[in-house]
């Protein structure tokens, strides 16, 4: 009512002005910073469609303008300015670039909303807030930046990626990786994007938001948007850095000196120790300082109707273990073209990425696993014999010189990834936009592996150590996608805002691959480059595979709000996939979102004027997880190893059943309720959001034993499991200082996530529990440390409850009868095992800070993960006193020696608290004042440190151990096991320069 009066008053005031004569207005629009002309700036008379755009020199001219008219100057990426014409005939405008404005829009899938209007749990992280320094993978840029988005990496191998889990997404047979959408293209491998080319990450977390991606939404969605060109003269950006990587923490094994001292002090017991006379720190022999060099060059520009941006990036990573390297070159080209009065917008994108990898083996305890071999190797064994050949000896099974392994084994990959996309946006009538998006992805890789034939003297005898093995493999994957949408946006009566969307999506994936291998090379120099070189080639040594998958979706969404106060959004997707069984190929994925922005209510606007945003949100939705292998629903028959014809003894190929069919196979279903609050106060100087969610994941796909008595195969893929997740997330963003010279922006995130297993079986196939998280080492074979158990959290460690050591030097455990038992007496019985810890954190926190003082900038990103247990199998193995004289050991082994022997079971003694606080990144830069060097628009030099420090009580080399869930067998998920296979974490120091011309 009050507004209406004001409106009337204005109308009356303006009425007389209509009488004034009309005039012509012209002027020049420039960029405030630098003063360069801005072409393509929209200049319109407010409240009309009359207007013009600036020409290439930034000039515009408007005729028939009334003094009362208000000119609105708008341009993407700049603050919109409104100027009343008055009596001026020349109006020059300097546009101020607004980095904030891009933040104001949040991608929600097939559309965007303004941040203040979002109704789901969506987060945006923009370029200025991203982690800096040396990024092995672009996703590292948002580590600790978004509440509920856990970005972790076990170890520091440049060739292994980060694990990303949104709200603890996890499947048993299904994967937990989120869906990536890059510039509208689904399924792009984001490691093919240079971090320098990224402008923002947008994350959808709740099922009500991700339902628009239906059966692919349950793990959350991450949108990556890359930079595009702007109208104007060509802009050249060049970024380069040099980084040095060093091992952050070594395993505390004995030196040759301490080993010898210990043996000498215990001569009565270890008199039989044979000292080979060396003094070697084997970790130092396999570790090095790694150098990373990165160069990124981008050129962008355009006119009113078309823009372009091209970039090329090369990064050469040297891992800190000798022989592990990665070199990646990526190129991108993005073009946009507007035509037909700007009604048609065409976007084109192309990217190519070429990556070469040198791998080393370190995952297990085999005869080529570098970490295990260097950890176990006695410091008193020399590297070389006196004649310069490698020293080999036969202390225990699988005991080989790791330096020889690094020198001899070749393990390489060459991967090429291409992306092409073409998009059309056509404004059919005002408010109605049709979009068609076509894309094609192709990822091809080839791998070469060669272990030369190797014999050496052991004792006095020349002994064969490796017979030699080689293989080559090709893996190809392609995806074609077609998506089309129609969006209609309209505001009725100024207060009813409506956006509707209808769409269709078609995705087809194809893959195939080939592998050939052989053993016993006649020439080590030919290696696996000439497979004919292998004398031992058997049936089954040539393998190939081929398959495909189709996913189709039809979807619709309606979003309505009344005057930015009351919001209602509903969406539904009908999704189908060829990976599901015939009886369940299609499913519905609906959702509803409600929000109420109290800040726009009069009672707040009038009384509490420092509140800019206070929005309550509630949502409910269903999304699915179809991240599963293809063809699991089929009863499949195929070659399965080889056997012999019993009559002739000749080898034949076995045809056998892989698994039983299940025509009911479907997606894991994720039903989620989300409650949220967004707020902004003091002119949005402090803003943030709080979320609570509760998820029920039902019909989780897993693999079950079937009565083998009557089935072809022993297993079936069946939707049987159920889990309950809930969590709380908070984000607080503050512009703590905001003066001209000094600015301090700070972002704090906090999240909890609890995952409870409700049931493992689908009723039909009973399953009381599933043992997972197997560890293995000499003497430890097939020992599970974790159990998936109904009514317990996922990641529950399960085993024996340590209760001390007996007087006769045996491990004691407390059984479920509360009695103390000898571990050896109960070790093979399940009766006395119990939950002994949990691998999942209680909460995670991130705290990012950006400071600028004049031309100096400083940022620091902390991350804490608290309350998770780690099973330290590395300590169990190398803290084993039974190893003394045969292998190198930790101090732990010396402490236990004479007190108790090795333990070969899942034992709570080896469970440790893994809580940590890390300073992930600190970055310090200086930007040269503008125009100091002619022709250079911007020049910044910086230095950056990644993984500055880790505060933790954890004894192992790094407490960031697999939070995202590993799988050793189908249908399993385990967490948090440190098993001598963690590539060392590194501290990286980077020096870099950003130049803009």
């Amino acid at each position: 009512m009050k507004n209406f009066k004001f409106f009337l008053f204005n109308v009356m005031l303006l009425l007389p002005l209509v009488m004034f004569a009309q005039q012509t207005v012209k002027g020049k629009v420039t960029e405030a910073a630098g003063g360069t002309p801005l072409p393509g700036v929209g200049v319109i008379i407010k409240g009309t469609t009359v207007g013009a755009a600036t020409d290439f020199d930034g000039n515009y001219i408007l005729e028939n303008v009334k003094p009362s008219d208000v000119l609105v100057f708008s341009y993407v990426g700049f603050n919109t300015q409104s100027i009343t014409v008055g009596t001026n005939n020349i109006i020059n405008v300097a546009m101020v670039e607004n980095t904030e404005s891009l933040d104001e829009v949040v991608i929600i899938g097939y559309g965007t909303v303004e941040k203040k209007d979002k109704t789901g749990a969506a987060v945006k992280v923009s370029a200025k807030d991203l982690n800096q320094g040396t990024l092995v993978d672009p996703i590292q840029a948002i580590q600790g930046k978004a509440a509920g988005v856990s970005v972790t990496k076990q170890g520091g191998d440049p060739n292994s990626g980060f694990n990303v889990r949104i709200r603890g997404a996890a499947g048993f047979a299904a994967g937990g990786d989120p869906l990536y959408v890059v510039n509208g293209v689904r399924g792009v491998d984001i490691t093919t994007i240079a971090p320098e080319d990224i402008i923002s990450f947008d994350v959808l977390k709740d099922a009500a938001s991700t339902a628009i991606y239906g059966a692919d939404g349950a793990n959350g969605v991450i949108f990556v948007t890359t930079k595009s060109g702007k109208a104007g003269a060509a802009k050249i950006e060049y970024n380069t850095y040099l980084a040095m990587d060093d091992v952050y923490k070594k395993l505390g094994l004995q030196s040759a000196k301490s080993y010898r001292n210990y043996i000498a002090a215990n001569q009565d017991k270890y008199g039989d120790f044979s000292d080979a006379g060396g003094s070697v720190d084997w970790q130092d022999e396999v570790y090095r300082s790694g150098i990373t060099i990165n160069n990124n060059l981008a050129i962008s520009g355009g006119s009113e109707t078309n823009t372009y941006r091209a970039s090329i990036t090369n990064t050469d990573f040297e891992g800190v273990i000798v022989g592990s390297n990665k070199n990646r070159t990526t190129g991108r080209l993005d073009l946009t073209q507007k035509s037909f009065d700007d009604k048609l917008k065409i976007t084109m994108g192309m990217s190519a990425s070429i990556e070469t990898n040198d791998y080393i083996n370190y995952e297990g305890n085999g005869n080529t696993d570098v970490l295990f071999q260097s950890f176990q190797r006695l410091p008193t064994d020399p590297i070389y014999n006196s004649d310069g050949s490698y020293f080999e000896t036969s202390r225990v099974f699988n005991y080989y010189n790791p330096v020889a392994i690094l020198d001899q084994i070749q393990n390489e990959r060459d991967a090429k990834k291409y992306t092409g996309n073409l998009g059309f946006d056509y404004t059919i009538i005002e408010g109605l936009v049709g979009n068609l998006n076509l894309s094609y992805l192709r990822n091809d890789s080839e791998s070469t592996y060669f272990e030369p034939k190797y014999s050496n003297t052991i004792g006095t005898q020349n002994t064969l150590i490796r017979t030699g093995y080689g293989k080559r493999a090709y893996d190809n994957w392609a995806q074609a996608m077609l998506e089309g949408t129609l969006t209609y946006k309209k505001t009725f009566n100024d207060v009813h805002n409506l956006t509707t969307l209808a769409g269709y999506s078609y995705i087809k994936q194809d893959w195939d691959g080939f592998l050939a291998q052989g053993r016993e090379p006649i020439s080590n120099s030919l290696g696996a480059d000439k497979l004919q070189n292998f004398e031992d080639v058997q049936l089954g040594d040539i393998e190939s595979y081929k398959g495909e998958r189709t996913d189709i979706g039809v979807f619709g969404r309606v979003m309505y709000d009344y005057d930015s106060k009351y919001y209602l959004a509903g969406m539904i997707r009908r999704d189908g996939s060829s990976v599901f069984g015939d009886n369940n190929q299609w499913g519905w994925f609906p959702s509803v979102q409600l929000a109420w922005n109290m800040a726009n209510e009069n009672f707040i606007e009038d009384n509490v004027n420092f509140i800019n945003l206070l929005k309550l949100r509630a949502s409910w939705g269903i999304s699915g997880n179809s991240n599963i292998d293809s063809y699991l629903s089929y009863l499949r028959v195929g070659p399965s190893g080889t056997s012999i014809d019993p009559d002739t003894g000749n080898p034949i190929v076995n045809l056998d059943y892989y698994n039983n069919g299940n025509p009911d196979l479907k997606w894991d279903e994720n039903e989620e309720i989300n409650l949220g609050l967004d707020f902004g106060i003091f002119n949005n100087r402090i803003s943030g959001s709080v979320e609570y969610y509760s998820k029920k994941i039902t019909e989780m796909l897993s693999v079950y034993d079937v009565p083998t008595e009557t089935n072809y195969a022993g297993t079936i893929f069946y939707n049987g499991g159920e889990m309950k997740n809930s969590g709380f997330e908070a984000t607080l963003v503050g512009k703590v200082f905001n003066t001209d010279n000094f600015k301090w922006n700070s972002t704090f995130t906090f999240s909890t996530n609890k995952m409870e297993v409700v049931s493992l079986d689908g009723g039909k196939y009973a399953l009381d529990y599933r043992d997972v998280g197997y560890i293995s080492a000499p003497g430890i074979v097939g020992v599970a440390t974790q159990r998936m158990l109904p009514n317990h959290d996922l990641g529950t460690f399960y085993g024996f409850d340590y209760a001390g050591v007996s007087e006769d030097g045996k491990w004691l455990v407390k059984g479920n009868d509360n009695e103390i038992h000898y571990l050896d007496d109960v070790s093979q019985s399940d009766e006395h095992k119990k939950p002994i810890g949990n691998a999942l954190p209680d909460f995670e926190m991130g705290w990012s800070n950006n400071f600028t003082y004049k031309n100096w900038d400083l940022s620091a990103s902390f991350r804490a993960v608290v309350g998770h247990d780690i099973y330290n199998a590395t300590k169990q193995v190398f803290g084993n006193p039974d190893y003394i004289t045969q292998r190198n050991v930790l101090d732990e082994a010396l402490a236990l020696d004479g007190y108790v022997g090795g333990a070969y079971q899942s034992l709570s003694y080896y469970i440790e608290d893994g809580s940590f606080l890390k300073l992930d990144n600190i970055n310090f830069g200086y930007t040269l004042p503008k125009n100091i060097i002619k022709g250079i628009t911007n020049l910044r030099v910086y230095t950056s440190i990644n993984n500055v420090f880790t505060l933790t009580n954890y004894d192992g080399i790094d407490p960031e151990v697999n939070f995202s869930g590993g799988k050793q067998n189908e249908g399993e998920i385990y967490f948090g096991i440190d098993q001598y296979n963690i590539y060392p974490k590194t501290r990286t120091i980077t020096f870099g320069i950003n130049v803009e011309l």
Binding site: V396, T467, I552, G576, S643, I644, T710, I780, S829
Partner: protein
């Protein structure tokens, strides 16, 4: 302008209508189950896995571990940090295994991997049974199934007993041991005539009349254990039937175990292992000392694990040729030089005595941990041996049949009734002959002749000795004479309950 609009609409429409809702996904790299077998050649091949599932019996199939490590002739001691493996070997030795013990799971898995394939193959083959080749394969498949059910009742007692595939109960119940026994005996008798006649001296591992009679003899000799009613004279008849097929003892007791033993006239039913093409025979890896690699110039390093009990070693007299298959005392490299164990700082001398089942590094010296226990090289380990041997492993062998016949004669007619047959075995081995052999003498002879051949558990049960105490093992309850139904099988099928008594 308008036409652009039209083109756009047509474009969108044509893209969206094309394959709009067709979730196609071509099948490329496997055969869908409902179109298999694709032809009659494949139908015969359906039966092949039934015959070759025996491949895993000595390792991942668990059978050998259950027959030997539970007995008084094989031991897998914990050697310092090695071979503890969570105690899975110790529970076998000490008769404290449970329904999740690995080998107990493995053997059940092996048997019931083979059974449904046999049932399926039988159904497919019956359709064309007038074809003589098909009829032969059909009879072989039925007898092979009888063999797996023999393993099932021998190890697990009452077992699920489906004999069809298509109409089988989805969650089958267990059938009493005696009833399974009767039915499979009948299956063998019904099919024996359709089986090929063996050709001793020609390498073959396929099922023939010799296999069938030997299997009958095994069933009959254990009939008392399985059904409560002994069948000694039937045992003798079945043994006679085997003997009449032309098998003969080799001159040297170790000849049947040579690398190239496929054509030995002594072997009746074998697993025809090959180091490359049909792998799974890795006793040498399990038993040999790391440094014995140098004795045989092996291409891989063995694991230094399994040994025989000292009491078993002491069964062998000094003249016994069969003891040449045992490694004891100083070990030598191929070139004749003494092997020195640098790590323990001593010559590699293998001792008959194993100080304990669990040798922890605190209590035992490196020499004891690494070098104790007599190792078995009864199956020839050829120069340059790989991780698997090419020797065939005999599941049924003439010497076993002769001793079974002797045993049945003694059981029917008293001590001395089997002397001729026992002496045939003893004389070949240059072992002293005393005559008037008792059942205990025959059990001891079986121990020497059939060492590690997978008969020991069954023999001890039949002779009533399985529950006695021996080195590092207390007396055990007679419920230990059968294994429990594995928990994983019960998880998949609750109709397998109730569990065997004592578990």
């Amino acid at each position: 302008m308008k036409y652009i609009y039209k083109i756009a609409i047509v474009l969108i429409a044509s893209f969206t209508l094309y394959n709009c809702t067709d979730l196609e996904s071509d099948v490329s790299d496997f055969i869908p189950g409902d179109s298999y077998p694709e032809n009659s050649e494949q139908a015969i091949r359906v039966a092949n896995p039934v015959f070759t599932k025996t491949q895993s019996m000595l390792d991942g199939g668990g059978w050998w571990f259950l027959q030997e490590v539970t007995s008084d002739e094989a031991v897998a001691p914990t050697r310092g940090a090695d071979w503890d493996d969570g105690g899975k070997w110790r529970v076998l030795h000490q008769h404290t295994w449970g329904n999740t013990t690995e080998a107990v799971n493995q053997l059940w898995g092996l048997i019931y991997d083979a059974v449904p394939r046999a049932n399926r193959a039988i159904e497919l083959l019956e359709v064309n049974a007038e074809n003589p080749e098909v009829a032969k394969v059909l009879a072989q498949t039925i007898v092979a199934r009888a063999y797996y059910y023999y393993l099932a009742i021998d190890n697990y007692g009452d077992v699920p007993f489906p004999r069809t595939f298509t109409n089988a109960e989805e969650f089958p119940h267990r059938t009493p041991r005696a009833e399974v026994f009767q039915t499979i005996v009948q299956d063998i008798l019904d099919n024996i005539d359709k089986l090929p006649t063996p050709n001793p001296g020609v390498a073959s591992s396929s099922i023939n009349k010799g296999t069938a009679y030997a299997l009958l003899a095994k069933l009959y000799i254990n009939a008392e254990v399985y059904t409560g009613t002994p069948m000694w004279s039937e045992t003798i008849d079945a043994c006679n039937n085997v003997i009449s097929l032309g098998y003969s003892l080799e001159g040297n007791p170790l000849t049947p175990f040579l690398t190239d033993n496929g054509a030995s006239k002594e072997n009746i039913y074998t697993i025809a292992y090959d180091e490359n093409k049909f792998t799974g025979f890795n006793f040498h890896m399990r038993t040999l000392h790391y440094l014995s690699q140098q004795t045989f110039k092996m291409s891989v390093q063995p694991w230094n694990g399994f040994a025989i009990l000292e009491s078993t070693y002491n069964l062998f007299g000094s003249s016994d040729l069969r003891a040449k298959g045992l490694l004891v005392g100083q070990q030598y490299a191929k070139d004749g030089s003494e092997i020195v164990d640098n790590v323990a700082g001593v010559n590699l001398i293998l001792t008959p005595n194993v100080p304990a089942l669990l040798m922890d590094a605190n209590t035992y010296s490196l020499n004891q941990i690494r070098n104790s226990g007599v190792r078995v090289a009864k199956w020839e380990i050829k120069e340059g041996a790989k991780g698997n041997l090419s020797n065939d492993f005999a599941l049924f062998r003439l010497a076993d049949i002769l001793l079974m016949k002797a045993e049945a004669q003694v059981r029917l007619n008293g001590n001395g009734a089997g002397d001729a047959l026992v002496n045939e075995i003893k004389l070949r081995a240059k072992a002293p002959t005393t005559g008037n052999y008792s059942l205990q003498d025959i059990l001891n002879e079986r121990g020497r002749e059939l060492l590690w051949e997978g008969t020991r558990r069954q023999d001890l049960i039949r002779f009533g000795k399985f529950n006695e105490s021996w080195w590092e093992k207390n007396t055990s309850a007679n419920t230990r004479n059968i294994f429990p139904v594995p928990q994983f099988a019960i998880n998949a099928n609750e109709n397998l309950l109730p569990q065997n008594p004592g578990y």
